[in-house]
Symmetry: C2
Subunit: 396 residues, 2 copies
């Protein structure tokens, strides 16, 4: 079975003709990139108005998953929720008829295709990825000019919108530098274009932008957000890591430091010493590994089909393969083999290590690949890998 | 009017014969220090069982302000609170009769003397100080061996307790290193003594300790906690400050960094560059000033008597003086004079600067000390200083 492009090569689907190398070198975190696919069906398989209809009618729809927006007259949450906070589905559709945009927050949490797409992008970027979906009725107003504090790809699914890009008042905004209304001058339009169905635009964080609906059709788009870890986050972690090893960093700053007659020369000297000590002691390997493991542990595993498999008998001839876009780190201590994956650590015996290497290699494998292990035990290991969404059975 | 010792020289009241220099050099954050005052009345003026009786009977007593503890049988919060969370004062006294300890958390928030004492200590240490009060009935069990993650002074007010000190499993515990039950071996007793009324013990954070009641009388003690900022906090702030000035720190860590085939050599090089850049760019002055101003802004002002003054007429001959232990920073920009103090910034005209210098000098002053300013305006400046608890009228 051929997997769709957004599973195997999700970035190319977004940026098109430009190579990944060029994207990362010349655009990523720097410049906007418009990809005019000239194919209205480019993203049609990913989401549709029919699917949004289905989600609003038949999914659980917890309060945080849906929002609405309209420029004039503004819309309040109470207009489309019941007193207990639950979504009033009828009111949602009624307000959509009256010009309000429907926003489905974090839709990848409730939609299998978007979840697969997000998982694929997370594997490319090694970052947390989210999807928010916007369905805007025809002839309705857009949103005010602002910048986001994370990079986004806008995938236009249906209809079209006029987009305008402006300057970056802040280069890669960091903590506490989120957009505040009225604080920045918008300045001149630097780019204006119609985003048509099938087109995609990448907008780096910090770049001001706005959009309004265009044409007679409703507009449906997905905003894919990249919630990246910054170098500053890693450097702060490196500082904390040094502090945990070196008691000097854990001593109090000088008693009385805020007094008017406090002589800060000695404190300045300690500061210089600690900066020097940080330089000597900062441990890239330790912190990089910590970030890598944390990132992988917080991914959501793909267990689709795992329950069906778990309900069936296994045969020694059954072939398995690691799931596309599952992220793992295989480790071994002197006592056990460990797979770090979405959800945490899974533990195995030491003797399973070489079999696990084969299983995680991406090549197909069977129970017999767990060499030196009884078939029964190998079966249980594969069941465990299946349960946590790491492998799946190959259907032949 | 003579101010009590715990206003003018609060640290000496605690550590006694040892000089402040010796305390900070040899004990602070390192070793316990027992001060046997041999004077049961040493702290009698600060707090008494009668005062605790009064607080329980006649103060507001919000739910968070009171807790109870008993080793066996354990006591639950529901035993001494109503369904709406309010304290059941009768039940508190009944459970005290039945062997439970009454804990008054953060009592300095509700008690004027403790507030004054705390303010004085905050001025010595330049750190946030808190007081928790423990009233234990006779013949009751103590608490389990543990360490605190902040330094404490224990002031025994009434009765006595047996204290035992053990080793420090962690030298100056930092974030995430709070005591966890069962994680540390207690080890041998390193010091055992009876803390009698009027005695005081300093225990550095990280040092294991326990105590149990002793003798036929109830025990009343104040635990003064120093919630210090550590050098690591300042270094982390320094890193954030550099990150805000240097976009390099705000770029994402490399896309794909968690992938199995990721080549981390380039990332390691960037890390080294950023460590070097931090060394060059780390700004002690900036961060030290930020910590100083933040500390002072978050102090609680002492406005006692200010309302009485505000209800009276002022005479040009009235003398004022800066309040003991009020903490301020006097600044001027090209447009105004600013006093940074507990609660935030207070703004004055530029022409008030030299008068404010006199007012904050600690010497007495009158309206006439605001040279070149109309008496009426000088009166309003003094009223403003009085309102925010910075000065008080000298009673002659």
């Amino acid at each position: 079975m051929q997997e769709p492009g957004w599973t195997n090569d999700p970035l190319s689907i977004l940026i098109g003709a430009i190579s990944q190398e060029e994207f990362f070198a010349a655009y990523y975190e720097q410049k906007a990139l418009l990809h005019d696919h000239n194919n209205p069906e480019q993203f049609a398989d990913l989401l549709s108005i029919t699917r949004v209809d289905d989600i609003i009618a038949s999914s659980e729809l917890p309060p945080a998953s849906l929002d609405m927006a309209r420029k004039e007259p503004p819309i309040k949450r109470s207009y489309f929720t019941f007193k207990n906070g639950n979504i009033d589905r009828g009111a949602v559709i009624r307000h959509y008829q009256q010009g309000a945009t429907i926003i489905l927050n974090q839709l990848h949490l409730a939609d299998k295709k978007l979840a697969t797409f997000v998982r694929a992008l997370e594997n490319v970027f090694s970052t947390h990825v989210q999807t928010n979906v916007y369905l805007t009725p025809p002839n309705s107003q857009g949103f005010s000019t602002h910048y986001d504090d994370h990079d986004v790809f806008i995938l236009q699914i249906k209809g079209e919108k006029i987009w305008r890009l402006y300057r970056k008042p802040i280069d890669n905004p960091y903590r506490g530098e989120s957009f505040k209304s009225g604080e920045y001058e918008v300045g001149d339009i630097e780019k204006e274009f119609i985003l048509k169905a099938g087109d995609c635009i990448y907008i780096p964080r910090g770049m001001m932008h706005d959009a309004e609906s265009h044409g007679e059709d409703p507009s449906l788009h997905i905003t894919v957000g990249l919630l990246v870890k910054k170098w500053a986050d890693l450097m702060l972690e490196a500082m904390s890591e040094v502090a945990l090893r070196h008691p000097k960093f854990r001593r109090s700053i000088p008693p009385g430091f805020a007094r008017e007659n406090f002589d800060k020369q000695k404190a300045a000297k300690v500061f210089t010493e600690l900066v020097e000590e940080f330089k000597t002691e900062a441990n890239f390997e330790e912190v990089f590994t910590f970030f890598k493991e944390s990132f992988i542990r917080f991914r959501g595993p793909d267990v689709s089909g795992s329950l069906v498999e778990a309900s069936k008998a296994m045969e020694p001839s059954d072939k398995y393969v690691r799931r596309t876009n599952s992220q793992v780190l295989l480790r071994c201590s002197d006592k056990e083999s460990i797979i770090i994956c979405g959800g945490g650590n899974i533990h195995f015996g030491l003797e399973a290590y070489s079999g696990l290497e084969t299983a995680m290699s991406g090549e197909s494998f069977t129970m017999a690949d767990f060499k030196g292990i009884e078939l029964e035990e190998a079966e249980d290991i594969i069941r465990k890998l299946n349960a946590f969404g790491l492998v799946k059975k190959i259907k032949e």
